[in-house]
Amino acid sequence: MTAEGPILPAKCLRCQSTLTSPIVCDGCRALFSPPPGTDYFALLGLPRTYAIDEKKLNAAFRGLARAVHPDRFTGESQEAQSLANRLSAEVNQAFHVLSDPVRRADYLLELAGGPSAAEMREVPDGFLADVMVLREEIDQAKSADDGDAIERHRESIAARRQDNMEQIADLAETSADLGAPERNLMRRLLNSMKYFDNLLQELAADPLAVQWSEPRPSGRADVRAG
């Protein structure tokens, strides 16, 4: 029941229904290993673009997760169950990557030929020096318990992160057409994201120390130190 080959067969090999997914037949529920080279976008039936319709992504994921989940194949052969486990892992991984903007951009860069984070560890010029200065200022504000200064830092770092993300998004939109220098730039920008995240985390109070004593407005709490 495995359909190997570079091209998605138009029809299910088992029941001749027209296939809409590379891994499952809507008609007879048969599962297939995806053809080599099937990327996460193709797996979920979405166009390979950075801009993504979150609702469509969620719906595609739920539909596919339902269709290939091992729970649906309990009574079937060991092979069918093991294939269901493998395909579910693939679908979960695809959703994990595509549902997050940074991971999605990173994945598009990988599809465009890299470099990967392991191949190129640099960040944009001068960035590390900036981070070191920032970290010192944050430490000072923290030890002085200066709530205003901490909040100013938090806002400015969040703004820089946003700016960085927008640059990445612009590049990611046209990732397939990027030359090597632009791909290297995209790599550097992506590498710098985790520094922003670490800084922001340092600025957030430890949630365990926060007492949820009074009701808060819904949505993500804006946890502040001091």
Partner: protein, 614 residues
Amino acid sequence: MSDDRNIIIGIDLGTTNSLVAFADEAGPRLIAGPGGEDDVLLPSVVAFDDAGRFQRIGGEARAHAVEQPTTTIHSIKRLMGKGVADLADDLLRLPFRVDRRKGGDGRDVAAVVVGEKSFTPPEISAIILRELKARAERHFGCSVVKAVITVPAQFDDAQRQATRDAGQIAGLDVVRIINEPTAAALAYGLDRTEHATIAVYDFGGGTFDISILRLEEGVFEVLSTNGDTHLGGDDFDHALIDLFTREIREQFGLDITTPTIKQQLRTLSESIKVRLSNRDSAPVEIAIGDDRVYRRSITRAEFEAMIAPFVDRTIEACSRAMKTAGLTPPDIQQVVLVGGSTRVPYVRRKVAEVFQRQPYTALNPEQVVALGAGVQASLLAGVQRDILLLDVTPLSLGIETLGGAMGKLIPASTRVPCRATESFTTFKDGQANVKINVLQGERELAKDCRSLGVFELQGVPPMPAGIPKIDVTFLIDANGILNVSAVERRSGQSAAVQIIPAHGLTRDEVRRMQAEALVHAREDMAAHHLIDVRTTLEFDLHKARQMIERYGHLLNPEDRDALASEIHDLLEYAKQCTDAHALNARREAFNRRTIPLAERAMSEALQEPQGTRV
């Protein structure tokens, strides 16, 4: 018995109690034991005789725990998938003996020792599972082989494997292992169209779990999970026991060491805990011999101060779970309580505080997991198809890297099934095997994480060092259990993966135990049968003797003497006979011989009221 009906049962294999359930179109229901409709909780207690032969299970076994503390096994769930080295604290408290299992090629597998015999935790659990299986078979009137079994969400791979092994030993095909809090959420059977975020606070006898789930369009999606596999109502008991032990030592200079008194204290502590759930104080009286009595009373405030450190740990875990899910209390629409320890008012108060919401307790917290297991079983059996459960892995999976660090491959709270692939190579020319130490845990160093075992890749083609590229795929399946496969990239050949579980049983051991359990079950049944026949025979002989005494004069003396000596011989024979069939045959033959006497005795008896006796 036929098993053509595709029945799948749901089992809650608990630290304190176990239950079995199923679901049909009408919803989930519990299957009761021989005691009638309300007999749904099977205490997870198994009693052996001094020789290590199975004796009793459930409530009966628990009732005799004080008389035979060293051969009554409880809380076996705490030992599942563990080595003796993991259990130091537990072992001091348990009245029965636990030792490292013998003959295990360097593996540290704990085993309960009873007399000359020793039992691994899966074997003890299998006895409980067999009883639940039998209850289900009586209910359905046919054989039942498929089951869903629940485990605490925080159970690691070894503990899950041990649970699955227990099922196999009991003759069950464990079609799915599911997490207890997830099962509880399923039991509440929220409407398919409902959208909600639910926190499940599951505080049982030995484990604590908190899971946060989102329900949308019939998909139950676990967002995060947190907890502690070594935190539960047992700890409340131990706090009380420690207090009594200390005070008795101080007041009377007496050290409590005997297993019987330890077991008595345990029973007492359990009832104090229950008493304080609806009263403000509980009196305590312990006779310690020589007419000395230890007396005091425990107030609810004292008890709450004692258990606060344990409850605080659960509350911290709740905060962590919310953080992982990126949520704050107002985002959560419902808080569900599971497990016997949530009956403690202090626990309820603390939960209400952390989630800023009164918890929802429509279902019995001790039954809700089993009901949920029944729902999941019906989903798998295809009774209903519109609900889907997407769960996560509770612990990070990684491998030991050079220098003893934990190299993380799959982070905690990743949706399962999930997989990670990692390449390995050789260090020496021509090296044929590569060993990988697979870890689970959140710590940075390998030695602080739990080793699931050493996976050995075999049959690597002979090549210079560093040339082979072996892609190893770690797949965590829907049960949360790890599957490892390996392919050598150059040759495209799949390498064999030999697994040496650090704290578990090998496949062969499980198969052997399953076979042995079957034989034992037959032996037990035979032994049971023999006892029945012997009892009946003794009863028959007793009646015959009475008859001879009273109506023997109706027989001629030779016949009477022959019958009397036959009774004597049969009694002797019954003492040493081990064949129930043969014994029963002799019993029936004897009864046939007494028929003439019985008839004469009967007619004589009818005339008796008129009263002439020779």
